[in-house]
């Protein structure tokens, strides 16, 4: 009654086997995906204007932060309203190092990740003991309080107060030619960071860590009884998530050539939460969708408002209203986020094509084709 009767034709089975052999290793699968993404991004960034390149850079660094947050919140069940503050830590670390040390950019960004991860350890140690509204409150305080440090009297000289720290834009290598736009170079740096982040997170999420993290989310007592160290898993998830936000902040500093408190308002943290929900909670692909929505929907809305030739008052408020409308519509139409909606559509399509193929998996849980193949024996129990 429950078995999946699988009577696929032999060639299909052979193709499946070949795919399995290739996809046997996570490393191969994910590296291939990352390479494909890099090629596509190369083509995309080369084809568009410098203005679009900067938007792509923005979407790329937001992807890092959103992906990190979706792992913590979607898979770990721990909410964080403080990810904007982690981005600030990464951005200021990057700006300080770029201004005071002549380190290569990669080393600076790595340092930003390490510093933010350290901040994440401290927050994570507290957060692992908190739940729901208490956790939200604690991380909210972090998000509200930390950017205020920039205006703290003794740190004014170091952090530049309200004006922040400006960063010299990265210089594209000479080999790319004299006329190579710096915006495209910034987009490349940000995209490389985003792809690397997604690659590493995908590795984590599809492995033992992702499974135990989801177990702690679902039932922490049962997880502990099976040997999972719940507090430790949660702290690690917070650290990973903070590190991603730190990289996002560093890339933001590189892309906008500025680290200033105004770039990290509470609204940023809330937008990151909105992005993981719109994209699809717990899904890395959903994180990309969420970041794209964050960047391109407001841009599209303000283009629309400007082209409509409205009075100034309406034109300047319309983008916000449109943005809100889009968020409401998306959450209504796709309660599981954009990625959840796509998955449901794909499942429906597959079912229409082969009505006997029972594939009613809608949860974010990644089920390996390898597992499925060995697990399914067909027939009734």
């Amino acid at each position: 009654m429950i078995g999946t009767t699988r009577q696929a034709a032999a060639p299909a089975r052979a193709a499946e086997r070949a795919r399995l052999a290739l996809g046997r290793y996570r490393l191969v699968r994910h590296a291939l995906g990352a390479a494909a993404a890099l090629v596509a991004l190369y083509a995309l960034t080369s084809a568009v204007s410098p203005y679009r390149d900067l938007q792509i850079a923005q979407a790329a660094y937001l992807t890092c932060a959103v992906a990190g947050l979706t792992v913590l919140t979607g898979l770990g069940g721990q909410i964080s309203l403080g990810h904007g503050a982690f981005m600030a830590v990464g951005a200021y670390t990057t700006a300080l190092l770029l201004n005071h040390r002549s380190w290569p950019l990669a080393a600076v960004l790595a340092a930003a990740v390490v510093v933010t991860a350290a901040a994440g350890t401290a927050v994570g140690a507290v957060a692992a003991r908190l739940h729901g509204p208490y956790l939200a409150g604690a991380t909210l305080a972090f998000a509200v309080g930390l950017p205020g440090l920039a205006n703290y009297e003794p740190l004014l000289d170091l952090l530049g107060g309200q004006n922040g720290l400006s960063v010299t834009p990265p210089v594209p290598p000479a080999a790319l030619g004299e006329t190579f736009p710096v915006e495209r170079w910034q987009a490349w740096i940000a995209c490389l960071g985003a792809v690397l982040t997604l690659f590493l997170l995908a590795n984590l999420v599809r492995g033992r860590f992702g499974r135990t993290l989801r177990a702690t989310r679902d039932d922490e007592i049962a997880a502990a009884l099976h040997g999972v160290r719940v507090a430790r898993v949660r702290i690690i998830a917070t650290v990973v998530s903070a590190a991603c936000a730190g990289l996002a902040g560093g890339l933001l500093a590189v892309a906008t050539t500025l680290a200033a408190p105004g770039a990290f308002p509470l609204a940023l943290s809330l937008q990151l939460i909105a992005a993981i929900i719109i994209g699809g909670l717990g899904s890395l692909a959903g994180a990309v969708w969420g970041a794209l929505v964050l960047v391109f929907v407001p841009a599209w809305a303000s283009d629309l408002a400007q082209s409509a030739d409205l009075s100034h008052n309406i034109a300047s408020n319309l983008p916000l209203a449109l943005y809100g409308l889009v968020l409401i519509v998306v959450t209504l139409v796709f309660p599981r986020g954009i990625q959840g909606g796509l998955r449901a559509a794909r499942t429906a399509l597959a079912r229409r094509r082969s009505p006997r193929d029972d594939a009613a998996h809608e949860e974010a849980a990644p089920h390996d084709t390898a597992a499925r193949d060995t697990a399914v024996h067909g027939g009734d129990s």
Binding site: I2, G3, T4, R24, Y25, R26, L27, H30, L200, N203, L204, R206, G207, R208, F209, R211, T212, R214, A215, R217, D218, D219, I221, A222, A223, A224, L225, H226, G227, V228, R229, V230, I236, A360, H361, E363, A364, A365, H367, D368, A370, A371, R372, T374, A375, V376, H377, G378, G379, S381
Partner: protein
């Protein structure tokens, strides 16, 4: 099945031993100087009316509750500071009342979490997706599948617990507890919510486990307890009121007075017939 032998301290034949364990919650004495020995390869039943302290007893063994007095020994070693997440490593597994499966994980993933004790890949290997992390995952998956297979539920490996019947979920929960190859299995009301047929299967299953491990069974369902247990401990208001073979316990006047009531004697009288009529504890 279990790779680790049931080696115990030769001086102490018991796997688990509680001596004079006392637990108080405020003014309430949940356990009053309770002693219990769990030998390997035996099924030990713990019964008693609601509130007798059965679940507290489990919670003491699992490290959720620290006794105010008394001592807990595992393989002859005193356990005083263990935490729930240490149990799997020690070789103790526990099923929860109800089902307690992870609803967002597939059946296979649920059981793989249970097998986490055997996982070797660390965080870095996972982060970089090193081939050894993949090999480790495959080994874990095969171990989990084999366990699902042995319990006859391998065909639901890819399903989510919410899609399955209660009985199947219970089996999966058992698979998750057994896949870590424990030496001691604590079953907390495994028969609750099961049909008569499923309970018969469960009894068969528990008897089969005896070859590999020790079982402690907290259960309201008398038929099951009398059927599968080698020894039975009877608690009432936190005190041990009887301890012995099922037959001894059943005939113990203290037990009958405290808890089993007239019905069982009636059922006993018609020995050989089904005991269904007396199967449920009054007030359960």
């Amino acid at each position: 099945m279990s790779e680790e032998s049931l080696a115990t301290d030769p001086a102490d034949p018991d796997l688990l031993r509680l001596r004079d364990v006392t637990v108080r919650f405020g003014g309430l004495v949940a356990l009053d100087a309770v002693s219990l020995s769990v030998p390997p390869g035996r099924v030990t039943g713990v019964i008693g009316p609601n509130g007798a302290g059965k679940t507290t007893l489990f919670n003491v063994v699992c490290g959720f509750v620290r006794p105010q007095a008394g001592e807990l020994r595992w393989r002859g070693r005193v356990l005083s500071r263990h935490r729930p997440h240490d149990l799997a490593r020690l070789g103790i597994a526990r099923t929860l009342q109800g089902v307690g499966l992870f609803p967002g994980l597939t059946v296979l993933e649920n059981v793989m979490v249970g097998a986490d004790r055997h996982a070797r890949a660390g965080f870095l290997a996972d982060l970089l997706a090193l081939p050894r992390a993949d090999r480790d995952e495959r080994a874990l998956r095969e171990r989990a599948l084999a366990r699902l297979e042995s319990l006859g539920v391998a065909e639901v490996a890819d399903r989510l617990p919410g899609e399955l019947s209660y009985g199947v979920c219970k089996r999966v929960a058992l698979a998750r507890a057994l896949v870590g190859d424990p030496d001691l299995l604590l079953l907390d009301e495994p028969a609750a919510g099961l049909s008569a047929g499923e309970i018969a299967e469960l009894a068969e299953l528990i008897r089969g486990l005896r070859d590999d491990l020790a079982v402690v069974l907290v259960e309201h369902h008398m038929d099951l307890v009398m059927d599968v247990c080698d020894r039975v401990l009877v608690l009432d208001f936190g005190k041990v009121i009887a301890h012995g073979t099922p037959a001894e316990v059943r005939d113990d006047p203290a037990v009958v007075a405290a808890y089993l009531g007239e019905e069982v004697r009636d059922a006993d009288a018609e020995a050989g017939g089904t005991r269904q009529s007396a199967s449920e504890v009054p007030g359960a």
